[in-house]
Symmetry: C2
Subunit: 215 residues, 2 copies
C-alpha cells in the first residue's frame, strides 16, 4: 500500500533550516549541523558515490528512507534555492550533479513552467505549476504501489501536513539549537492532526522518531 | 555533584503550553495533552496522593524527576498563573493544595514580594524578587549536594538556558501538535549552547530525551 511520507531532520528547537538561507548556503546558518549525524555513515556516502564510512543505529533509517520509493515531491527551494525562470546557462539542474540520489520521478512544485529534465540514474524532474494536489496526483500515478516521499523543504512538508495528506512523518531530531530559520512544524494547530508515535531509534547524535498521522 | 536540570514535557511542535493560557486553563488550549503520557502512571498518581495506575517505560523517568532534588525554581506563572500582589482571601498558595508534590524548598521568581509560605510535606515557597541569578544562589545554598530542578514555565527555563546555567535538559516529547502557545526552545540561537544527547527512552505515547548542556 503506497504511503505519503517524509524523512526530515530538524533541530531540537524545530528548525529544518537555519536563518539567512541563500544560494550559497541553502540550509542557512548552522543548518548543516542538523545533518551531522548522517555524513559519517557508509549508507549515506554510498548514495552519493563515496566509499568508506561507518555503520550505526542510523544506518537502518537511511536505508529505509530510500527504500520502496516510487516518486518524490519537492518544493522549488529544495530544487532551485529560489531560482525562478530557468535562464541560467547552462540551465540549473539541481544541487546533486548529473546523477541525483533520487533514482525515481521527482515532482518539483514551482510557479515557473519548464520541460521535464531527465538525469542519470533514473531521476526525472517534472515541474508542476498547479499546486500540491496536482503534484501528489502525478506522483501517485508514477509511484504505483510504492511510497511517495516529500523531500522538503519545510514549507512543502507543512502544506501537505496541513492538508491532511501525510500518512507517516519520520523526524530525525538533532541535538542542535538554531534559534531561527524555518520550522517544520509551525502553524499546524488548526489542521487537527492526531499523531501516533510508532517507533523511536536512539542513534549517535540523533533520535529517529516515526509518527503515523491519523485523520 | 549538584546539577541544575529540568524535566519538561513539550509537544512535537515545541510547545510547553498551548494558546490562551488563563487562570482557568493554565496550560492553554490543548496543553494538557502534552502530559497525557504521565496521568495513567502509578508513579505519578502516588505523588499526588492517588492509588492505582500502571507502570511502563515512563515510570523510571517520573521517579528520576523527583529523586535527589534539593531545591526547585519556578516562575510566577507556574506558581500563580499570573497572579500578582497577593491579595486573594484566602491567600493563593499554588495549584497543588496543602501538600504540594515538591517536598523541598521552592524558589518562586516574581516581581511581588511576599513572606515565605510553609506548606505540608516539606514544601516551602520562597518568593525571589531580584532575578534568576539570585534564585539560583538561594537554591544552591538550600540544595547542597542535591540537584536543583527548574519546574517551569517555559520562560524561566529559557532564561536559565540563555544564561548558560542549565547542566541537563530532560525533554519528554509528546506526539501532539498545538500550533501555538509558548515554546520551550525559542530564540536560543545566540546563546551558543552545545547539546550532547545522552539518553533516549521510548515509552507509550512519549519519547524521553536527555541532553547534557556543554558550555
Amino acid at each position: 500500500m503506497s504511503k505519503l511520507r517524509f524523512n526530515l531532520s530538524i533541530s531540537l528547537d524545530g528548525y529544518l533550516a537555519g536563518p539567512d538561507q541563500s544560494l550559497e548556503n541553502p540550509l542557512g546558518v548552522g543548518g548543516m549541523h542538523v545533518h551531522d549525524w548522517v555524513f559519517p555513515l557508509a549508507a549515506f556516502r554510498r548514495m552519493h558515490g563515496l566509499e568508506g564510512g561507518e555503520a550505526n543505529a542510523s544506518t537502518q533509517v537511511v536505508e529505509e528512507s530510500v527504500a520502496n520509493v516510487g516518486a518524490v515531491i519537492m518544493g522549488r527551494n529544495m530544487f532551485g534555492g529560489g531560482r525562478g525562470p530557468w535562464r541560467d546557462d547552462p540551465p540549473w539542474t539541481g544541487w546533486w550533479g548529473d546523477n541525483p540520489p533520487y533514482h525515481a520521478p521527482v515532482f518539483v512544485i514551482t510557479h515557473h513552467p519548464r520541460a521535464p529534465l531527465a538525469m542519470q540514474g533514473g531521476t526525472m524532474f517534472t515541474f508542476v505549476t498547479d499546486g500540491i494536489a496536482s503534484a501528489l496526483a502525478q506522483a501517485r500515478a508514477a509511484a504505483g504501489d510504492r511510497d511517495i516521499v516529500i523531500a522538503g523543504g519545510a514549507s512543502i512538508a507543512r502544506q501537505y501536513l496541513a492538508a491532511g495528506l501525510i500518512d507517516e512523518a519520520n523526524v530525525s531530531l538533532a541535538p542542535v539549537l538554531l534559534g531561527a530559520g524555518e520550522r517544520l512544524f509551525d502553524g499546524l494547530g488548526a489542521a487537527g492532526l492526531r499523531l501516533e508515535q510508532v517507533r523511536v531509534i536512539e542513534a549517535p547524535g540523533v533520535t529517529h522518531l516515526r509518527y503515523r498521522v491519523i485523520r
